[in-house]
């Protein structure tokens, strides 16, 4: 019988705990009041419930200032979040992580020939702002309408080279780190990226006469890059990057004759038809990070 009584007591106690836990939620804390006016009881005064009315966010501070005395006089509590200081931590740590970033890109500054690029970056972050990595890409060419008009308008065929492959050792640096609010509702973290690379670019001449043999150039190509990276998940980023590849390229020389030996064409071209080239390219990449998560080493 004692046990039954004990059981019933536990049931009743639980029921009372439930009621208390529900009743406590809407109650505004006494310390949230302005000007020392005590908060009226929730069931008798204009206390703010759990759902705060923050719909009028466009109100100017001047208006807020103007409204304050009235609100204070009425003894209304301040918004719950007014007194809470929030300092978000850096959303994404890169130190000692590997980034694999497939990308696609396009050349921007040649009116005659456009190249689409497909490739990837492999970077290791030595610190949160310094990385070292490899870059590789393959190009697909597209001749522009201007290129096709040169023959019609001037009876000339442009001397062009197409890009084939590129590979480089790249040093990366993060000069800036920021965050922005999207309609002041969501916070998105991002950083600025800068890179300096040195590598090799393979190019191939496009012979002016169909049927003539082409030859390939291997050029040392340093490059500079700048971009922005958005942090999406702990292991995923999106990047937009501009890179400028600078190299000396060899083009088909002007006086090439039909049937001329390729070795002679190469020699003559190297002697008379080299030019400093700047290829400005825009890339979009998706970065995958390993390990896929990270641990903060400082307290919140």
């Amino acid at each position: 019988m004692k046990r039954l009584a004990l059981g019933l007591f536990v049931v009743l106690a639980n029921l009372s705990v439930e009621q208390v836990s529900l009743a406590q939620e809407p109650e505004a804390p006494a310390s949230d009041t302005v000007g020392g006016t005590p908060t009226p009881p929730a069931d008798t005064g204009p206390a703010v419930g759990p759902d705060l009315d923050l719909t009028d966010l466009s109100t100017t501070p001047e208006t807020v200032e103007a409204k304050k005395p009235t609100a204070e006089a009425a003894g209304a509590p301040r918004k719950a979040w007014d007194d809470i200081v929030v300092v978000p931590r850096k959303a994404f740590l890169k130190k000692a992580r590997l980034e694999l970033a497939p990308f696609t890109g396009i050349t921007l500054n040649d009116p005659l020939i456009r190249h689409y690029s497909f490739g990837g970056d492999l970077n290791y972050y030595i610190t949160d702002v310094l990385s070292i990595g490899l870059e590789g890409q393959y190009f697909i060419k597209e001749l522009s309408e201007r290129e096709s008009l040169v023959g019609l308008q001037y009876y000339r065929v442009p001397t062009l080279n197409k890009l084939k492959y590129h590979g480089a050792l790249v040093f990366g640096y993060v000069p800036g780190y920021g965050k922005f609010g999207l309609f002041n509702k969501y916070i998105v973290h991002w950083d600025l990226t800068a890179s300096l690379g040195v590598g090799m670019i393979w190019t191939e001449i496009i012979p002016r006469n169909f049927g003539d043999q082409s030859f390939t150039n291997k050029n040392i190509a340093p490059h500079l890059g700048i971009g922005a990276r958005l942090f999406v998940l702990d292991w995923l980023t999106l990047s937009l990057t501009f890179r400028d590849y600078i190299y000396v390229d060899t083009f088909e020389f002007q006086g090439r004759k039909r049937g001329e030996a390729l070795a002679d064409v190469i020699t003559e071209s190297k002697n008379s038809q080299t030019q400093l080239v700047q290829n400005i390219m825009m890339f979009f990449s998706v970065g995958f990070y390993l390990p896929p998560s990270f641990t903060y080493r400082t307290p919140r």
Partner: protein
């Protein structure tokens, strides 16, 4: 046995109650704006400034433009703006222009123009003026080198305007053939142009900022002033719509100089 039943009853009542309480508990930050005490650097402010722009990928002439810019921010995230541009380098040839001139023979042959005649019909941008609606959904702060802190925003814009195209030389006599047909003719006109692009402000202070814009001016043109459609004459049928990219960098000042602070 009774003890077990009693404990089970207790658990049955307690667990849903605890779950409901957890569900109804709200963070004190619920409904708080993402950023508080935010500097409203744009709302109801005028923006005026001047800068330089440079064309990218033009066929025959690159252009360096002096570009004034004026805008009014209706809210923190939408603005109306006007941008002008005056080309101060009308003779800045592209590398393609130089290569082409180098390959043309002087005097002209029966089929191809001389370098001077070819150049005479190539047009360039003289000036531009466009209006635009700017949409600024993104704004925030950035730390440069962990020591310089700046506010910034990103925006997209679209609008329309005019672009004036002209040449520096007179029409060459060789443009009229023996049958009296116009085989080449420089296209000089003020064209209606579409204007779209993206931009960013990096604030130097509460009242000044660097504005970077990348815009595409879309208009009809025949930059070479020569036959395009293959009918051997040059006329309005040879005009084609094309993209013309401009990068610009401006120093902008905001009025009123004092920015409001949000809640």
């Amino acid at each position: 046995m009774r003890k077990v039943i009693a404990l089970l009853l207790g658990a049955l009542v307690l667990l849903p109650a605890a779950a409901r309480a957890e569900k109804e508990r709200k963070s004190p930050l619920t409904n708080a704006p993402a950023i508080r005490k935010r500097l409203e650097l744009r709302d109801k402010r005028f923006e005026a400034g001047i800068g330089v722009g440079v064309s990218v990928g033009q066929d025959f002439y690159n252009a360096l433009l002096v570009m004034p810019r004026l805008a009014f921010h209706i809210t923190d995230w939408i603005a109306l703006g006007v941008v002008g541009g005056y080309n101060v380098t009308p003779t800045w040839k592209s590398s393609f222009h130089s290569d082409l001139n180098g390959s043309l023979s002087d005097p002209a042959t029966t089929k191809s123009a001389s370098p001077a005649d070819a150049t005479a019909t190539m047009n360039h941008i003289a000036y531009m003026a466009v209006g635009q609606v700017e949409f600024l959904p993104l704004s925030g702060k950035i730390a440069l080198f962990s020591s310089i802190f700046s506010y910034f925003d990103f925006y997209v814009f679209g609008g329309a305007g005019v672009v004036n195209l002209t040449t520096s030389s007179a029409q060459p006599g060789s443009c009229i053939d023996s049958n009296g047909r116009t085989v080449c003719q420089a296209y000089k006109a003020t064209e209606l142009a579409g204007n779209a692009g993206i931009g960013a402000h990096a604030y130097l202070s509460n009242y000044s900022a660097i504005a970077l814009e990348i815009r595409d001016l879309i208009y009809k043109n025949n930059a070479s002033g020569r036959d395009v459609n293959g009918d051997t004459v040059t006329d309005a049928h040879d005009l084609e719509w094309g993209s013309n990219w401009l990068f610009s960098l401006n120093v902008q000042f905001f009025l009123p100089a004092k920015a409001k602070i949000s809640r």
